[in-house]
Amino acid sequence: MQKIGVFVCHCGSNIAATVDVKKVVEMAAKEQGVFHAEDYPYMCSEAGQSRIAAAVKEKGLTGIVVCSCSPRMHEATFRKAAERAGINPYMVEIANIREHCSWIHKDMTEATEKAVILMRAAVAKVHLNAPLMAGESRVTKRALVIGGGIAGIQTAIDIADAGYKVDIVEKTPSIGGRMSQLDKTFPTLDCSACILTPKMVEAASHENITIHTWSEVEKVSGFVGNFTVDIRKKARYVNMDKCTGCGVCQEKCPSKKPLNEFNRGLNTRTAIYTPFAQAIPNVPVIDANSCIKLKTGKCGICEKFCQVGAIDYTQKDEIITEQYGAIVVATGFDTIKLDKYGEYAYNESKDVITSLELERIMNAAGPTKGHLERLSDGKAPKEIVFIQCVGSRCSDDRGKPYCSKICCMYTAKHAMLIRDKYPDTNVTVFYIDVRTPGKNFDEFYRRAVEDYGVHYIKGQVGKVMPQADGSLLVQGVDLLDNKQILKKADMVVLATAIEPNPDVRKIATMLTASIDTNNFLTEAHPKLRPVESPTAGVFLSGVCQGPKDIPETVAQAGAAAVKVIGLLAKDKLKTNPCTAKSDELLCNGCSQCANVCPYGAITYEEKLINDHGIRRTSRVAVVNGALCQGCGACTVTCPSGAMDLQGFSNRQILAEVDAICR
């Protein structure tokens, strides 16, 4: 029989304004096994905690129920308080009467009734709690960064500088990411490659960094401090040790039709290619889908011309398995597909392009060698219309509900650069709002308007109509003048919404990291833990967490690195004692629990079982407590109820349900 103390927190007015805390105390005192009940304005304060300690001492309590905020906020606080007062920390239960109750109710009677019910459920559970002891697990002092864009590179460099080994896994042939595709960066207009390339070189030459390009994460198992990751190193068909990066293979390759991904498909590349001149590693890959030799067995020209014999058509994908203590997701973004936006004629006219495509057109290494020209006829455009928020801030399901955040600034950048280089070209921007919160951002936008004469029109574009003469007729509205606008343009640039890289779903699933409805990875806390995933040991860097520009991405990348360093600096971590346990007398040995266990924590043994005097040898499940993370998948799969979760046993949960239904 437990002696239970119930402590009800006011949380200032957060709880007390909606829940009659005195009533909860009064009802708690009537519960079976409750020897002490009190309320206090801030239970989590020093004073509040010492009241718990005092009650434990005075009344000899064996179990504690704290009716307060979510256990995610202060469960650890109260467990520590209990430990200091001399009782096992796992004898503490939290009844969440804030997030689950006071914050979501308006009516005090209703909220109080619910708070009493939640308190009862917690009391019912504590009756069945048993003391648990936390174990320890070692920390593998190596980090994995998934994604080799600026976010991944910066995180890796910062971790490596602290003295820890880091691996970067990048699925394309080179690190660099989206930033390597940009021409200039706002608000300083410096060349993107000029500031990125040194970072890429620094990462590549860092003694603590290993880069796996043309590679993908295949499988993740384990848990914080002890992840095991399978990495698929896709066949490159080029020996990385031998290749000197001379590029002769690319000059000679006769297969010239594949679309150039790096230039957003605006031109073509060869079957053997490096995506761009500054690629790291400067070793080409062979695109097996378009290589004549790999497809038909005939050709072999690159092999013939390669001076060092680096070409190897027999290469196969290779899976390597590595151990990591922490994983950083830095998978970045892509622009959304515009199939649902027929009104902008993106698929009809070559002269309707996305901003990222314009970025490539403006770049000296791009499809037009940096000359601003129409892709349809090569002529210089004299009238350019920019359309903002294409797919961003969208209320229907064609686009995204969020603001892509970077578009206002890069459009100002594009407009300014065009007006600077081609002063006879008119630039018009259709916008909903111009959003420029950032250091030197609004000044930047105002320069575009005031110094460069960019014509901003508040209003949206309804339709872009390709004309017979090759021009584009843009139909829009000027909301400030309250009039319809029909404007002839030579080129239309769409500020296309960005979305998380589509691969992130797969990666999030492998990592058991949560994602929101827009596929952005969720933070552990939106304000206080913005670079950590709720999954321990998984951290977030860059746009995979939410839209951001380069300075923000770099700042977040550094923050994620600090969190990783903080973890890797520890030699051992306390493990969660709330792990699964199998009842040998009930276990059928059917293997279903092992099939569902995401951590590989369950094995089987042939054991001599003494079942109430009857001896038999049976195949039974055995849980490795160090590997088990207490997810409970096995307990709900087990048909005979042999698997149970310590601290969350079936009995405890049903006792809570019974208490709620009482």
């Binding site: 779903r505 797969k506 699933t509 492998m510 009842d583 007398l585 009930l586 276990c587 059928n588 040995g589 059917c590 293997s591 279903q592 099939n595 569902v596 995401p598 089987y604 038999r616 049976s618 195949r619 799969t637 048909p639 005979s640 109820g641 079936n650 009995r651 049903l654």
Partner: protein, 319 residues
């Protein structure tokens, strides 16, 4: 039948098997029951006729713990259950010598009654699969064979045995109905109609546990309904809630493992169509995770206990 007995006797005599698992004659022609036969003499009571619907796979769990091999007769649909139990490490394949027996659809005595054929003394089997000749107290009567078949035989999974050591006799695929038609009918009901339907069916339940005891998937060492460890232990059938929960919990426990052998409905003395629960699960699994038939491939990943990153994530629908 004589061929089966002959073969069983010779396997017993040669010492290849230590016992035979088959069906034993009862008081009436339709009162056939599963039985172990240890000697050639005992085999005099062996029977194989149209009423041998019982799936013998489950008995192999116990037989797997005994010394020596057991000769077991399995119909094509029984072999799915046998495989599923092998997959779950409950049956030791090495302890079984399987004779796959021919099956032309099995009969349900109650269906003869419904055709007004009473006091059955004998039934011709398996010489004819179109017309069944039945000997009764009142003389010979005839009935269309399919009108006397078990429900499950109308959705026969096929005449192929999934596992065997040797085959004796011919099998016929008796499938002539859509396996999920009944489920679809219930799915189309309004929530109120569904509730009324299940209420009406399940309130017939007398909690005799026959469905659980016969079910090859319900073969836990200790059932949660029998274990003192759980509050579900020995709950009397006192409320309509309890009787529903028993069947719903059972359906959840066998989901993804049920081979749709139909034994639950065959043995239910109250005639509750219990297989519909299981079939609803099978239909949903097929729709969400691709076609899957439990018991076909021992090494196949079961949809509910395996995980793919592109798995469907069904929400909880209303109604």
């Amino acid at each position: 039948m004589q061929e089966l007995i002959h073969r069983a006797k010779s396997l017993l005599e040669s010492g290849e098997v230590s016992r035979v698992l088959g069906w034993k004659k009862g008081e009436n022609v339709f009162d056939v029951e599963p039985a172990f036969f240890a000697t050639a003499e005992e085999l005099e009571n062996f029977v194989y006729n149209g009423f041998c619907g019982a799936n013998l796979s489950k008995y192999m769990i116990e037989a797997s713990t005994w010394e020596g091999k057991t000769l077991v007769f399995l119909k094509p649909c029984d072999t799915y259950s046998f495989n599923q139990l092998c997959k779950e490490h409950r049956i030791d394949r090495e302890k079984a010598y399987i004779i796959g027996v021919g099956c032309k659809g099995k009969l349900k005595a109650e269906k003869l009654g419904a055709e007004n054929i009473l006091d059955v003394q004998g039934a011709g089997y398996p010489d004819c699969s179109d017309t069944l000749k039945v000997t009764t107290l009142y003389g010979e009567q005839e009935v269309a064979y399919k009108d006397a078949m078990l429900e499950r035989c109308h959705v026969c999974k096929g005449k192929e045995h999934q596992v065997y050591d040797e085959l004796i006799g011919e099998s016929v695929d008796t499938c002539d109905a859509d396996r999920f038609a009944e489920v679809a009918k219930i799915e189309a009901m309004s929530p109120e109609e569904k509730f009324a339907f299940f209420q009406a069916e399940l309130s017939k339940c007398i909690r005799c546990n026959a469905c659980r005891n016969v079910c090859p998937a319900c073969s836990c060492r200790k059932c949660i309904f029998d274990s003192t460890k759980f509050d579900s232990n020995q709950k009397a059938n006192t409320t309509s809630f309890e009787e529903k929960m028993f069947h719903i919990i059972r359906a959840f426990h066998v989901a993804g493992r049920c081979t749709d052998c139909g034994e639950c409905s065959r043995v239910c003395p109250q005639g509750i169509p219990l297989h519909l629960f299981n079939r609803k699960f099978i239909k949903d699994i097929n729709n969400l995770y691709g076609e899957y038939q439990a018991g076909v491939d021992i090494d196949a990943k079961a949809p509910l206990t395996s995980f793919r990153t592109d798995d469907a994530e069904p929400g909880v629908g209303r109604g």
